[in-house]
């Protein structure tokens, strides 16, 4: 366990160093902290004064160290768009994005597991052909197109579901704004979360199916038949538990990809999350906000990867034992 922890911490540190370098470069190259602090209408003399005061004429390594120490204290600069600390802005938008990704992941799991397993154990059935056919189409349609098609069908044509915003939200103790506590909020969640899930769902169906079909060919599955086990146990315990290992690994990576695609989904659905804000920050060159976004997303990546590794260890006894030593 200790070795595992050290390795994880090392990887996390490496990722964060890379992110900090990227962020520093972004800030140094295109950022304008003077504007962030004092606004656009400041005279050149005043600017020069501020620049000296802020240490912007210092050598680069010194500036980088200062950037990292500030970041470690949670100070990622001021967002000039909002006139607030950039980190606060991002964290305020975090619940919207987290709930969107969470619901998309739920869609993916709830749909891909039964479909993938079914397609693996009934490879020749009509339903399997349909599932596989649709999934191939799904893989190749871009997310924004799916989003637009969904909006057109369910919002414009049928008028069943809202197509923008989060709807009614409630602030939970601790400051988390949730859209999942009201019926209106849930209705607003449907289309964005399906759009985001459409990116990963077909991929997962195909992955689960192919992994499971491979496991079903293995000797231990044949032995499970020879032991006279009921079919459900062979499929759901023997085959599926082994299928999970590669699925968890890929799943971790996909959560990262989904996080990236929230930028697109949130923009299409006017979803007030981190991704939506990020795109605005890009348009307005609000570098502090960009940096805060990158740092938070980087931390999420590291966190997700750690959780995925831990879950993997729970399923795979071999990892567990090497960890124990």
């Amino acid at each position: 366990m200790f070795a595992f922890f050290i390795r994880r911490a090392g990887q996390a540190a490496l990722v964060m160093v890379v992110i900090s370098l990227v962020c520093f470069a972004v800030q140094h190259k295109i950022g304008d902290p003077i504007r962030d602090l004092a606004g656009e209408s400041v005279s050149e003399a005043e600017r020069q004064l501020l620049r000296e005061k802020l240490g912007l004429s210092d050598p680069l390594p010194k500036q980088y160290i200062r950037f990292v120490t500030n970041a470690a204290r949670g100070d990622l600069g001021i967002s000039y768009m909002f006139g607030k600390p950039a980190l606060d802005v991002i964290l305020q938008k975090f619940p919207a994005t987290a709930e969107l990704v969470f619901c998309a992941v739920i869609w993916v799991l709830v749909l891909s597991l039964p479909m993938g397993i079914y397609a693996a154990i009934r490879p020749k059935s009509v339903l399997t052909r349909i599932i596989m056919g649709v999934s191939i189409v799904g893989v190749s349609i871009p997310v924004f197109l799916i989003a637009i098609i969904l909006i057109w069908i369910f919002s414009v044509y049928l008028g069943w579901l809202p197509s923008f915003g989060r709807g009614d939200t409630i602030v939970l103790p601790g400051g988390w704004t949730t859209g999942l506590a009201t019926w209106d909020g849930i209705r607003h969640m449907v289309l964005p979360s399906i759009s985001l899930a459409s990116l990963t769902l077909p991929l997962f169906v195909r992955l689960i199916r192919s992994e499971m079909m491979e496991v079903l060919q293995s000797e231990f599955v044949k032995f499970a038949y020879a032991k006279g086990l009921p079919l459900w146990r062979i499929y759901l315990v023997h085959a599926f538990k082994n299928t999970l290992l590669p699925v968890i690994t890929v799943g971790g990576v996909r959560i990262g990809t989904m996080l990236a695609f929230t930028i697109l989904t949130e923009t299409v659905f006017q979803w007030q999350g981190m991704g939506f804000i990020f795109l605005q920050a890009v348009e307005r060159a609000d570098t502090s906000l960009l940096v805060a976004y990158l740092v938070v997303v980087g931390l999420i990546f590291v966190g997700v990867n750690t959780v995925v590794d831990l879950v993997y260890g729970l399923v795979n006894p071999m990892v567990r034992v090497t960890g124990r030593k």
Binding site: E219, K222, F223, A224, Y225, A226, G228, K241, V315, N316
Partner: protein, 326 residues
């Protein structure tokens, strides 16, 4: 079928429907096993031994299927049972031991889970009772501190230990017949003998029937009372082990015996039979062994020899029957 007959395989045929056509991997195989008897199935790789063994419990994987014959076991034709009836016999009355213990056990389940699920697939017992049965069987295969072992995963055991565990699993329901497909082939030479001894000991003490499948005539001859030699899907010679070992009739059996390392005259090299077993799609006409046979006659490439009584054994060979006639 006498009251002492446990298993009777009659004219068994197994067909593989491949893309290029249908091919028979097992062709009219007939043999029987008495209660508590140990029968060997011997032949080079590809002879159809495993397919024969698996078809007894109707466990041939696609695209293979039983295309003819009967598998009479305790009065029932197993090849005609419903899937659920067949399931209730597998692992209960008929158990199997596979070749490679590294692959047979599920890597993500504990030994306990894999044993208990087997007990409970066949008997309505509590978890504690099932655990007691599992520990009893582990002790029977000489695995120490069974209680602790139940919590361990397969990768925590050596190959030999894993095969003992597989054997313990096969014993869980006190089967009447065990089919062991090359049970020691994948193991270290030193451990092979231990596993065979263990199997022999268990079969004798519990009066279990055994079908021992192996390419190694030497191993089979030490454990079994009777054996059947297979070649290209046919049984070419079947009879008491002692008789076949001391006085092999079929040229193929003679070839296998001559290739045994222990029986080699010191000529410095193994007396392997020249050539190889034909593949499923390229079995020659007539006697399938004729391209490799040293006693080959003109008729051999035209007519398939039938299995005929020859003293204490049954043999399928034109040369043997002709010699007997003259």
């Amino acid at each position: 079928m006498t009251p002492e007959t446990l298993l009777q395989v009659k004219d068994l045929e197994v067909t593989f429907a491949l893309r290029s056509g249908k091919y028979q991997a097992v062709k009219g195989v007939t043999f029987d096993v008495a209660k508590g008897e140990r029968l060997g199935l011997v032949g080079e790789s590809g002879a159809g031994k495993s397919i024969t063994g698996f078809s007894i419990i109707n466990l041939i994987s696609q695209p293979g299927y039983i295309s003819g014959g009967q598998v009479l076991f305790e009065g029932r034709d197993l090849s005609k049972l419903s899937p659920e009836e067949m399931r209730s016999i597998r692992g209960d009355r008929v158990a199997m031991i596979f070749q490679d213990p590294m692959m047979t056990l599920n890597p993500v389940l504990t030994i306990g889970q894999q044993m208990l699920e087997t007990v409970r697939a066949h008997r309505n017992v509590s978890g504690d009772e099932a655990r007691a049965i599992a520990m009893d069987k582990l002790a029977k295969v000489h695995i120490s501190s069974p209680e602790r072992r139940l919590k361990q995963y397969p990768h925590e055991f050596s190959g030999g230990m894993r095969q003992r565990i597989v054997i313990a699993i096969s014993l869980l329901s006190d089967p009447a017949l065990i089919i062991a497909d090359e049970p020691s082939t994948a193991l270290d030479v030193t451990i092979q003998a231990e596993i065979m001894e263990l199997l022999l000991e268990l079969c004798e003490s519990d009066r279990m029937g055994l079908i021992l499948i192996s390419h190694d005539l030497g191993v089979v001859s030490q454990v079994t009372q009777r054996m059947a030699i297979m070649y290209a899907g046919y049984i070419v010679e079947v009879g008491p082990t002692a008789e076949i070992i001391t006085n092999p009739s079929h040229p193929y059996t003679q070839g296998l015996l001559a290739a045994l390392p222990g029986l080699q005259k010191r000529r410095g090299r193994l007396n392997q039979i020249p050539g190889v077993m034909p593949g499923l799609t390229s079995i020659p006409p007539g006697c399938p062994f004729h391209p490799r046979c040293q006693s080959v006659m003109p008729v051999c490439s035209e007519k398939i020899p039938a299995l005929c009584d020859h003293g204490a054994v049954r043999v399928a060979c034109h040369a043997v029957t002709q010699e007997a006639r003259s």
